[in-house]
Each structure stands twice: as C-alpha cells, then as structure tokens.
Symmetry: C2
Subunit: 424 residues, 2 copies
C-alpha cells in the first residue's frame, strides 16, 4: 500500500512531531482497494446496500441525532441526595470542531431546571437605581440585539487536576464543563442605563436566577456594562430550558457561575452579597489558609481531545493530534504540542476562525514510533499569558485548591498504544 | 415613561433610518415599574413564581428545546406522491444570530433519509484514477481534519421570487432553504491524491449519494481540491442522519445540490454526467430558451427577517431591523437598508464574526412614523458584487427562471403596521 507520505524524506521531525506544513500536505493511505468495480448504481457487479433499495425516512419538524448506538451523549453526575444539584459533562473526546451542539452543552444546576412561563417571567433591575423597572420577554424583543460566539466554562471544571493521583477518566468527564455557543440578546448596558445607575456609588450588581435555589452572584457593574448580554437565543433558537430559558446573563470569558441562568433580577448595590456560591465555593483557598475571592476571568487553557485518556493507538504510524484551547482574556495566539512531556515543543496549526473568548481547535501531526510518549499542549493567549505546567500551578496556588485549575494536561502513551492520564 | 432615546436631538434620521452609532447608544424604555419591591427571594412583599417553590427537572443526556408551545420548528413540504421528495424549511423569522441549530437545518431530499450502517458504508474514489480506493468511517478518523463554518443554500431557495405576484408566506417558508453550521472533516485533496488523479485528462468528478435516489452531481475536480471537505461532523457532533450521516461532501459557497449527502462515491471523468438534477433542474432557462448549466456559486444575497412578512408593528416608534446576508464568493463587505423601497439607503451594522461564505447578521434601527413604508436590504460582498433589484434580475435573466433567485426582498408596511411581501 506504500508508506504514509508523512514519513517521506524532506520532513524534519521533532520527537515525532511533524512540521505544520506537513499537516495537510499528504495523506495516510488507510484505504483499501475495492473488491469489485461497477459503472453506476444498480449495474452488474455492484451489490447495493439495503438503504439504497427502498425510500428512506421522511421529513421532520425538529432533527435529532442518529440511532442510540451512534449517539454522542452528555454524562450526568448529580448529587443523589439532591438530584437537581450536579453537572452533566460534555463528551469532548467524541466531538470535533470548536462548537458544541446545544443538546450537548454542559449543565451545572443547583436545584434543577425550572419550567418557566415566559409570559409571566420578568427581569427586574432594582436596588440603588433611579427607577426600578421590569421587562417581559415580549418587551425585550424590541431592543437592539448583539451576538457573542464564545465559551462558557464552569469555574470547577478540571478540578480533579488538584488530586494527588491522576484521575483515570475520559477527557469529557474530567474537563467537559466547557461548551461553546452563539449567544444573542440585549446588551445589558441599555437596560441598566434605562433604570439609571450610579457606577461610583453602587459598583456591584447582585444577579439572581429564577430557579428553586435562587442562584445569586455578585458582579461588578463595569463588566455588565462593558460586554454583558441578556441572552435570549442560543445558536439561533430560543435558549434551551437547561441553559436558562427564557433569558440568561452572558459575561464573555468569565466563569460559568457568573452567567446566571433564568435571570430574574439585577440589584444594584454598594457591596457584594457574599452569597454561598461566591464564598464557600468558586473561591481559591491559598497555601496560607486565606481564600482568594472573585476570580472571574477564565485562565488560558488547552487540552488534547484526540488522542486522550482511554483511547488506544492501534499501530505505529502517523496520528493527528487535535484539541481545544481558550482564554477568558481574548484570542488564542498560539498552541504548542509536546510528545516528550514538555521538554521539546512544536507549534500546532490553529483551525479558524480564531475568536476572542472562544474555543479554538488546534491540530498537529505526530508519528508514533511505538515507544512510550507523553503528549501535552500549551496555549498562549493574545495578552501573552502562557498556560502553566501543573508543577508551576501547584507552586503558585498550593494544595488547597479546588477551582480554576488550568494547568497543562498530560496523556501518557505506553508501548501497547494505551493512552491514560499521567502527571509528569 | 419618557420618550425613546433614539428620538432625542442629535440624531439625523434618513426616512426613519437611524445612524449606525445610534444602534447601541440608547434603549427604548419598554419596561414597566414593578408592582411591589422586595429585598430578596421569599421575603415579605414578594410573590415567588411557582417554579421557584420546588426543585426543577433533572439532568439529561441530550438536551431538547422547551415545551411544544415555545418550540421553533422546521416546516416540511413534501411531495404527496413521493413523500421522501421535498424540503423542510428553516423558520428564519423565528431565529436570531447567524448559526442554525442542527435540528432546524433545512432538509432537501429526493427519496428520503437512508438509515446507513457506518460500519458497512464506504467512500469509493474510482473512474480515471491510478488506483481505486475505498475508505470506511474508521479509516477516515485517522486523517487530518479541517473545519468550515459556513452556509449551505439550496439552488432552488427563494424561487417564489420568480412568481408574477408576490407570494404571501413567512420569510422562512419563502427563503428558508439556507442554514449555517460548522462542518468538520477530511480535505478531499488528500483522498484524491492518494487515489491518483490527472487534473488535465479528467477534470470532472461525479459524486454519488447512498440514498435510494442515488443522487448524483458532476463537479469540477479543481473545486474539490481547492476547498472541498469530506465532512464527518456538524456543529461538533457526528452529522445528523438527514444531513448526510456518516459523511457529506462540503463545497464552501456552492449550491446545496452539489454538497452530496451520504456520499458513497467520487468517480473521476473526462466529462460531466448530465444527470437529471443538473439538466432538468438547478439550471437557468434563459430568455432565448437555452439553459445555462452549472451555476454553482451562490450569488450575493440578503433579506430582513425582522420585521418580515406576517409580523405586525404594534405602535409607532423605534424598531430594530435584523436580517441575514451571505455570498458564495466570500465575505460580506456591507449591507444597506432602505425604508422607502430603495430610493435612499443607510448602512447597517454587521454583527461579527464576518466570515467567508457564511451568513452574517446585520442590524439597523428604524423609527416608524405610522406611514406606509417598504423595507429592503442590499448586500455587497468582498468581490464588489452587489445584490440586484428584482427588476434588474428579471431584465438579465428573463421570465423563465426557477433557480438561483437572489434579488432584493421588499416588505411593505401599511398604516396598520401589517408587514407583507411586496414587489416594488
């Protein structure tokens, strides 16, 4: 069948990592010769598959994924004592590209998904405002709209990275609390200005959701006015119930807990609320025992989704490395990959569009020689921030952490081609 | 409640169209004062809605839109004599942003949706090649991947525009055979090169689908090699059955009939096939009775989705015009809007990202004074091509047309605020 072209002369290799121009320069020749050839459908010599022999299924009003056996699913992990408190993970290792289908967008709820009547629900802006105001969904449709195509990541995503031993789970069940959508809605600045706010006297906004937990978050007014959205649509259609229908607060690049679903109230305040989910949780316990509060912007981060934990390389040869990179500070500038646990790095190709505060798919080619290897990726964002090694993150943050883990992720490949999560 | 801020001094208006900087400068004050104020959930004076009084629904493995009454749906229109032959329209007037959820991506089938076993299905490249080859889905996963975020539009979309009288239908049931997704898969160039093609001797590729119609299209090899993809994923997950699972040909910017679903074969040929769907259909019958064949690239086009046919303006005041623009030749450079049937134009704001061969959402503010108006949009792409008026399109193409209609769309607003499709 001939050797894969990537193995040909003229390509310098770096511990098996192939130069970027090699990525799309040649194929792999993993095809086989047909058993029989025919000129067209139904002609002699061709055995048509059964699905070409009779008409297929009809049209549908709302499309669904294929049969169960082919379906890619979220993985719920709820608290048994409180079934509406938990998460459902996005199966990152089964996805490609940079978008997440709405049906696979991760879930994080504190007391389940409320069934809201959009004719009754209102958004109220109150507290220290010139005039408190209520808006219904129908009112909001008359306002200017704007879109943000970007990620939402839970501040607790990847928290198993703090464990003493590397957790042995698929990447989606370890890092899958990140998803990417187009969110469209009303710039919050317009609504805040109508209510009349005093940014000097009341720099805080307490956001509250209409779920049974009455989820609350204390947020700086400046962020809401800068790029906050009252989102009404996700990926073009009305937001799904589990993502905040009929309206959700979107704060580009900030951790998920701030992007309050089922938003019902924004209360202007001189002080933060010190609510449960901004004190006992989503904070960073430092080595000295004090907690750092209000770490809102997501740090620069990346990980390989293919190959990743639980997958197996079935033979020596060329493999495509594929992963996601993102930063709450802006665009991804570059992603580097390593096959030797971070000693040597090669630059990956970024698959466009590269958008601010959005996931970016990166790719690189790697030739596995059958020896043990450790695959890693390291992202740099447009501010120059570089994703830290796990050792550097632990040195800076200590051993009490639980939230905001964004260190380099390592996948070990053994001589059998098995891939598992390792620390290096 | 105070007047809408857009009406204040300092804004020059152009037949009610407000300057672009006005778009996000002020609000509309469509809110109302709350009936009662309370400090927090459950405190005296606040009547909590029922969905905050008990835990909500649990987690799900695959998310769905909300209850039926809130759901936005495709509108199938199949041939009664051949139920698998027809279309399902994307309800554009109910969507915002520029993406289409996979469940609402338009459908166009010739003999229904085949139920394909991905373990059996192969893509074959044959005909005038050095060596015919077959690839299974599992083989293809090892190849380099690439994404294209862009639109697919049926060459028959908007064909009611050729009618003598303006059709009275919602915009989605008139122009809704366009949808936008991220498609990810293998660059076709890699597979064609492995089979070994001679671009001089055999400049044509006959693509064939694995549906019961065995849908065929004759395509230039140069386009497949330039940017053709063998797509395996749509919006991150495996392609939906009705969109071509397990693999679909993607040709950025070209009409939908060329982007063969359920792709099973690419046959290299010296000549086009002259198949039914490239001779009797998807061609342009000229004024002199001859047909123009192979008009693949989608022309520059735009339309307003809000307001649009069937909607009603309920009072004088400021409205947000919102629509979509696209071109098969590249990026949208600008979109202009008119409120007087095309005599005067003002530039709309483009809501990013503005990507090549992708839909772009545009927006403008307009103050309705209660008088009759005719709302239009006109797109210009990066090649300088300008969307034609209906009169110009008819003058150039005659009265025999059925495909590739891309003229300016006009929505008439009467004194009652009713919006309907008109010709001007």
């Amino acid at each position: 069948m001939g050797a894969p072209r990537f193995d040909g002369p003229g390509f310098r290799t770096l511990n098996g990592l192939l130069p970027r121009r090699a990525l799309l320069r040649g194929g792999l020749l993993l095809a086989s010769a047909p058993a029989a050839l025919a000129q067209g459908p139904g002609e002699a010599g061709e055995d048509l598959p059964p699905w070409m022999r009779s008409p297929g299924a009809g049209f549908s009003v709302y499309g669904q994924p294929g049969p169960q056996a082919q379906r890619v699913l979220r993985r719920p992990g709820a608290n048994r004592a409180a079934p509406g408190n938990g998460v459902a993970w996005t199966p990152l290792e089964q996805l490609e590209g940079f978008l997440t289908p709405s049906g696979l967008h991760f879930e994080r709820h504190h007391n389940g998904v409320p069934a809201i009547d959009p004719a009754v629900h209102t958004l109220r802006i109150d507290g220290a405002v010139r005039r408190p105001l209520d808006w219904r969904l129908a009112d909001l449709l008359r306002y200017p709209q704007r879109s943000h195509l970007g990620f939402i990541e839970c501040g607790g995503n990847s928290n198993a990275g703090w464990n003493e031993e590397p957790i042995q789970r698929p990447v989606g069940s370890f890092h899958g609390l990140i998803s990417t959508s187009e969110w469209t809605g009303v710039p919050l600045r317009l609504l805040l200005d109508e209510a009349g706010v005093d940014a000097q006297a009341t720099p805080w906004v307490i956001a509250e959701g209409a779920d049974a937990f009455a989820m609350q978050a204390s947020l700086p007014l400046a962020k809401l006015r800068a790029d906050g959205l009252l989102a009404l649509w996700q990926n073009g259609e009305p937001i799904r119930p589990e993502q905040g229908y009929p309206m959700r607060l979107i704060l580009p690049g900030w951790e998920g807990v701030t992007q309050v679903k089922w938003l019902r109230r924004l209360t202007l305040s001189a002080e933060p609320l010190m609510a449960r989910n901004e004190t006992s949780k989503y904070t960073e316990l430092q080595p000295d025992g004090r907690a750092r509060q209000f770490t809102w912007a997501i740090g620069v981060k990346s990980l390989l989704t293919t190959p990743s934990h639980g997958q197996r390389l079935d033979a020596r040869g060329t493999y495509q490395l594929s992963g996601l990179a993102w930063s709450g500070a802006g665009r991804i500038r570059k992603v580097e990959v390593s096959a030797d646990g971070g000693r040597r790095w090669a630059e990956a190709a970024l698959d466009g569009p590269v958008l601010p505060r959005c996931t970016t798919r990166f790719r690189a080619a790697w030739r596995w020689d059958g020896q043990p290897a450790v695959l890693q990726s390291r992202a740099t964002d447009e501010t120059g921030a570089v994703q830290p090694s796990r050792a550097a993150l632990l040195a800076a943050r200590g051993r009490n952490g639980y939230f905001h883990y964004h260190a380099i992720v390592s996948w070990g490949v053994d001589e059998e081609g098995a891939v598992r999560h390792v620390y290096v």
